[in-house]
């Protein structure tokens, strides 16, 4: 019973990692860059939701919609202002850029007097509710995360697999020049991707807020989502989810059964092992250049 309860907590926590990892994978799949600002976008989304609820006094669903839409716009704006000018530069420049954006976002939030340095709670309607399934405990906050992650990853998977726009995004990331030749509006798609990623981040932020509270440094949880994305295979959306679950359960179990300290590095050990055994992750494609 203990074991199952631990696995359940692990799954719940894993879904959180998976949810954030979805953002990474989304950006990676569509632009071949890694966004280190994803955690910060999530933080902004949570603050956005908080703003709508606490300061504008609107109900929860309005906050959800507002934050998601607002963040999507913000993501697009961000793309327009700072990503687009260096579109086409090596992916690594963009990685650096996102690190910079992360700093600015964290600092800017901290600078807001009276709010930025505080930790706040987002009053959600389902706060602190627990479902008892027999002897097992299911936390509603976590169930919501699990459901949302599953739905989102299915939607995004369909986008990349079946829609023309989704395929075009991948095409543009694989060979931008050729994408231009094909008349793919690379910049517009990129704009869309960043908007989407920011919206996904906002969703993650809103869902996480009841669990981790809202504060300027909440984005650091993204560091745990990296291992999730790697274990799943960086280019795979279902992989992000599965990777998150793996990391979550391993953490949960190792926290209970292994000596102290293992829980904190479990995620990273799993990544190292994974990279040794299957360098491209569980769902990552085997890549080999043909010459």
């Amino acid at each position: 019973m203990q074991f199952i309860q631990l696995v359940i907590s692990g799954i719940a926590q894993g879904c959180i990692y998976g949810l954030i990892a979805l953002g990474f994978v989304l950006i990676y799949k569509a632009t071949e860059t890694v966004s280190f600002a994803q955690g910060e976008l999530m933080m902004l989304g949570a603050f956005g939701g908080l703003g709508v609820m606490s300061f504008m006094g609107l109900p929860y669903w309005a906050a959800v919609l507002g934050a998601i839409a607002g963040m999507a716009l913000f993501g697009m704006l961000l793309e327009r202002l700072v990503i687009r000018p260096i579109l086409g530069q090596p992916a690594f420049s963009i990685v650096m850029l996102t690190i910079g954006i992360g700093y600015v976002a964290r600092g800017a939030i901290t600078m807001i007097p009276g709010i930025g340095t505080e930790t706040q709670a987002l009053p959600v309607p389902y706060k602190d509710q627990v479902l008892n399934a027999g002897p097992l405990l299911l936390n509603v906050e976590q169930l919501v995360v699990i459901a949302a992650t599953a739905v989102l990853s299915a939607l995004l998977y369909a986008l990349f697999r079946y829609s023309k726009v989704g395929i075009a995004m991948q095409a543009a990331s694989q060979n931008q020049l050729a994408a231009y030749y094909m008349g793919i509006p690379v910049q517009r798609l990129n704009n869309l991707v960043w908007g989407l990623a920011a919206a996904v981040a906002a969703i993650a932020g809103l869902l996480l807020a009841p669990i981790t509270f809202v504060h300027a440094n909440m984005g650091f949880i993204g560091l745990k989502a990296f291992p999730a994305a790697v274990v799943g295979g960086f280019g795979s959306l279902p992989g992000a989810l599965v990777g998150g679950l793996v990391i979550g359960t391993v953490e949960s179990l190792s926290g209970f059964y292994l000596p102290e300290g293992f829980k904190d590095v479990a995620a990273y050990v799993v990544v190292l092992v994974m990279l040794m055994v299957r360098p491209n992750g569980l769902f990552g494609e085997r890549l080999r250049k043909k010459v």
């Binding site: 260096i86 530069q89 650096m96 600015v104 930025g116 340095t117 291992p227 590095v265 040794m276 360098p279």
Partner: protein
């Protein structure tokens, strides 16, 4: 404008290409040697930090800028060096022995990390190094009998042969000497076959291999050298800062190191030191100017992060070649004056290509 007439191949492998080089670098050396008399104590300490970070930057530059392997866990090597030095200095070892040992131990760690590098590239390598960094940081925190755990560890001054490199000028000279040696070593490496092998691996692994370059060997070598320099820097850092604790070698530190080489200018030796100047100088600059800002901004928490991030973003946007790139432009402008044309460094459109296939 300078025209060089080359008369022998040896000219091409000389470090100083012409009289101008000799003159300017001579001047720089003179300034650095005279710094303890010229600079205030505070500035000298900053300069020492710059030299230390410059050494680490050299290593990372070699790895990221020349071999094309990005490490997001370099603080681990930095930390291995720092802790080794702290422990050995605590046991009374002379630094002439302990510093090389610190570098070697870091190099050994580097080899271990280099192993996954043989199999993974790009972002996967980044994640492997990142994970490794976390694991090493955890070891620093848990191995209390050696590292002092989270309580941290104080570090004695560097000593050898009855001489103590006290804080201030003596320690500064020690760092200066080592930085100079490290720079020379890197320059030498880069103008010889080993350095070219690194560049080859960066640009195309397949054809590097078919040119007879053993990928495994050179990638590990690159990691080892890079880690050794980080370890050396770490050893000096430990002395300079007197107190080390595991959280000084976390992911933030790794990212700072990476930022340093990017801002400095990937793929140039100058960049390592320019980046170090930036990394150490910027926070100081911010706190210097913030008193002049309106209190609502100047005194607000978070200002530092905003400016730091903002400057970074601006760099990537406007000067992708980093500080060194900027310097090149200024130099060309001065050399060509008044013939400099505006479009000269106009950025060309470039197109991203998947680096998953290399």
């Amino acid at each position: 404008m300078r025209f060089l007439f080359k008369t022998s191949y040896a000219q091409d492998i000389r470090l100083a290409r012409h009289g101008g080089h000799v003159f300017w670098y001579g001047l720089l050396a003179l300034f650095l040697v005279a710094a303890p008399w010229l600079a205030s104590e505070y500035l000298l300490s900053q300069l020492t930090f710059i030299l230390i970070y410059g050494i680490v930057g050299l290593g990372l530059m070699l790895l990221a800028g020349y071999t094309g392997l990005f490490s997001i866990g370099h603080a681990a090597f930095f930390g291995v060096g720092a802790y080794t030095e702290a422990v050995l200095a605590g046991m009374g070892w002379p630094f002439v022995l302990s510093l090389p040992l610190a570098a070697m131990l870091a190099a050994a760690t580097g080899v271990v990390v280099g192993l996954p590098a043989l199999r993974v590239k790009g972002i996967y390598l980044g994640m492997a190094t990142l994970s490794f960094g976390f694991v090493v940081a955890e070891v620093f925190a848990r191995w209390e009998s050696v590292t002092g755990g989270n309580a941290g560890k104080s570090v004695n001054a560097a000593k050898a042969f009855g001489w103590t490199a006290e804080a201030g000028a003596p320690f500064y000279y020690l760092c200066l000497l080592l930085a100079a040696v490290a720079t020379l070593a890197c320059l030498n490496l880069l103008r010889s076959s080993t350095g070219r092998a690194f560049v080859a691996i960066r640009d195309s692994e397949v054809s590097a291999q078919s040119m007879g370059i053993a990928l495994a060997r050179y990638k590990t070598l690159s990691f080892a050298i890079s880690a050794a320099l980080a370890g050396l820097g770490g050893g000096l850092y430990a002395h300079h800062i007197h107190f080390i604790s595991p959280d000084q070698f976390d992911i933030i530190q790794s990212i700072d190191l990476l930022l340093m080489v990017v801002v400095g200018g990937l793929g140039s030796i100058h960049g390592a030191f320019l980046g170090a100047i930036f990394l150490i100088g910027l926070p100081q600059a911010i706190s210097a100017v913030k008193d002049y800002l309106p209190a609502a901004v100047g005194q607000a928490p978070g200002l530092k992060a905003v400016v730091y991030g903002g400057v970074l973003v601006a760099f990537v946007l406007f000067e992708p070649l980093g500080l060194y790139g900027r310097w090149l432009k200024v130099r060309t402008y001065l050399q060509l004056f008044p013939f400099y044309r505006k479009g000269m460094f106009k950025r060309q459109k470039s197109f991203q290509k998947s680096d998953r296939l290399k």
